[in-house]
Symmetry: C2
Subunit: 437 residues, 2 copies
């Protein structure tokens, strides 16, 4: 068992990087006692050395080019917190793993795009690649899937994977405000980035879902094949109608496997009140995992921020400290099984999805509209569960909401395409999928 | 990296043992693919070979004395599912660890009583001791604490750790029935044992809490020092009053640390509606963990049963398979830090507990009773938040419910001792603690 200090080289000193440095400084004695060896930062690297930071930059050896951390000789583990799927993050991680140096990263974009390839490099050299912080912040969901549930055949992984979206949807429900106003408020509070596209269009959640699906189903999931929708078209009306019908709207990432293929999708979803995912409020993240023989698990916690993310990064560092000894390289796979055994093949196309749907139409309020709409659904053999038209207005379009029984996605798209072309329908129909939890 | 089969010796073939054998048989190919080596059962042992079992006993080598599995030569890992804190379970686990043979166990009583001592043996020989299945069934909470949250200073661990009690309390709330009737129903459905004392008196939850506290706070917690109350004195009235006041009653195990000592207690608890623990229904288990810097995590899942428990046992076996190689013994500690570093010392006495209280008195309904009761609280400087007397009855005692502001346990006990001796009070006061989540 190694007792010499574990020497870190940290690349990227933004919110998460700063949090990691602070955590290692603040909990130095606690970590040393738990690990039986010290954790020390020997090298740091970031774009701008002179920026104001919550720790003393001069206390650590500065490296101008982060990629040098892959090979510099006083570093045992590389901590990659630069971000981005390519560029220096990829060069650093690939270089370190190829050199047999373990890597801890919080970079979901990198893993979503290059995870399987990096796992192959890591397993070839025996260098560990750990990424707990890449998904759901402080929730140890990677460990739960990779190790805790390894004996299970998983059937569904469904999660609230983006805190910004969950905050916006929660505030829309609490205040009745429209999306754009709540987004502006979230930006003012620092819960949304100045450029929020990455979050609100679902990309961030899709990165995380790709990692969870690769892990849980042992498949080299192609990020580009995920069906991804964000929350930008959700209105205050939708939230109010959903509540009336007994649901809340959440941006979920859902990956399913029935043994005949894997489906993975990110979209706003109606989730029944009082189910665990429906009750997750604000910036929290949560993941529901179903498998055989375990049944249903639910994990909830802070999904982002310096503290929770640093908690996950340093947990991975401890795992590396425990498991890398002079005696030999790691034998554990990066995902739930070795990279060479990861299943390849296409995800199931979204057009094959079968589920229930909520559809909101904005229509001119006149006789015959309901008949025209229901006729289209009938012709496509889509069976309706309910139709609600609450408002009446002779001068402006009014919303009609329909809930369907189970239908195939391709059929639904054809039906609402046709409905969107009806003369009385004034805007593209809004379709939200319902997920039974 | 080892590629030879991992050979198991399984002791104990009850519900959990049968579940483990079935899981290893059913998921043989899946496990081999994920681990890169086969998992095979070479030896089994139980009290009665001829009992009807859900698998073919003749397929495996029978061992009459389970303790022989510690040393028999075709076993790599011992799986101890006998149960009980002493006797053959202890002899087998201690013997195997002393011989350098890894052990996977689901035995919470064994770990609650002998965990620190067994950890010392394991760490001396480098044999792994894994016990995910001992706490909260299918929820990987041991892994979450031991590894996922290792970088945190934990402040509170609070859990619903006994599915039988949670089932009974949930049913009492749903039906309005009294404890004894719901217990009988639970026994009929197989959710409670014929001898339910171990569950309903809180012992089982206390075993699990001892393990969580040892793990989370790095302390050799003495099981005998825990404050333990069960649910046998909870009435339908209590559940109805709690609901009226905005709470549900749950049997919680709570372990706290503020850096100046550890408190650990198991008792019925008022938990505010819509907090995660309050929403856990039926036989599910759940654990809320709070720490710095991670914040608050919540994990929920099936807490017992053959499938979920087997999921946890086999996860530990996989962890052993990944981490025991010819190159050398394990370096990781059994708890969050090495046994030699576990803090010893007394738990904080329950009399020091400070919190809010719910008190139900059964009193004779006549003028002056309320004045007499409130006078006692006033004299002990216990501040009341509310008093409710809903029923009026000239012929039979009626319940009065009081909610206090924060008070010290020792003071409360003195006050309700005095109140219990008032002439108008017809039964011992029922006191339920409130926990803010």
């Amino acid at each position: 068992m190694a007792t010499d200090p574990l020497r870190l080289g940290i690349a990227g000193l933004g919110t998460v990087g700063g949090g990691v440095v602070r955590l290692i400084e603040d909990h130095r004695a606690l970590l040393a006692e738990r690990l039986g060896r010290e954790v020390v930062i020997t090298r740091i690297s970031a774009r701008d050395r002179s920026r104001e930071r919550p720790f003393d930059v001069a206390a650590y050896g500065w490296v101008d080019d982060p990629v040098d951390l892959a090979t510099v000789d006083d570093v045992d583990v590389v901590v990659e917190l630069i971000g981005g799927s390519d560029g220096p993050a990829l060069a650093l991680v690939r270089g370190a793993l190829a050199a047999g140096r373990p890597v801890v990263t919080a970079n979901k974009a990198l893993l979503a795009h290059h995870g399987a390839a990096l796992a192959a490099v890591a397993e070839k050299t025996g260098a560990m690649l750990a990424y707990e912080a890449a998904v759901a912040g402080g929730i140890p969901v990677v460990k739960a899937l990779r190790e805790g549930l390894i004996a299970n055949r998983l059937t569904r992984i469904a999660g609230i994977l983006n805190g910004t979206c969950n905050y916006i949807l929660s505030r829309m429900e609490a205040t009745g405000a429209e999306f754009a106003d709540v987004l502006a408020e979230a930006q003012a509070h620092g819960y949304a980035e100045a450029d929020p596209a990455f979050d609100i269009e679902g990309t961030d959640a899709a990165h995380k879902l790709t990692i969870l699906a690769t892990l849980g189903y042992g498949a080299a999931v192609d990020f580009g094949q995920l069906h991804v929708e964000g929350i930008t078209s959700i209105t205050a009306d939708d939230i109010a109608f959903a509540r009336e019908l007994g649901y809340r709207i959440k941006l979920l990432g859902i990956a399913e496997s029935d043994g005949n293929g894997i489906a993975a999708r990110v979209h706003p979803t109606l989730v029944a009140h009082h189910t665990p995912l429906a009750e997750v409020d604000g910036v929290y993240n949560a993941v529901q995992i179903e498998g055989e023989p375990v049944g249903r698990l639910f994990l909830e916690g802070p999904g982002a921020g310096a503290g929770p993310t640093a908690s996950a990064v340093v947990a991975d560092l401890c795992y590396v400290a425990w498991n890398t000894d002079a005696e030999g390289p790691s034998s554990a796979p990066v995902y739930m099984k070795h990279a060479a055994n990861l299943v390849t093949g296409d995800l199931r196309p979204m057009s094959d999805h079968v589920g229930r749907f909520y559809i909101r139409l904005n229509v001119i309020d006149r006789p015959g509209v309901m008949a025209a709409v229901t006729e289209v659904f009938a012709r496509h053999a889509v069976s309706l569960e309910s139709i609600i038209q609450r408002k009446r207005d002779a001068d402006a379009p009014v919303p009609i909401v329909l809930m369907t029984h189970e239908a195939r996605e391709a059929v639904m798209q054809a039906a609402i395409g046709e409905i969107g072309r009806l003369e009385a329908v004034t805007a593209p129909p809004c379709l939200i999928r319902l997920e039974t939890m």
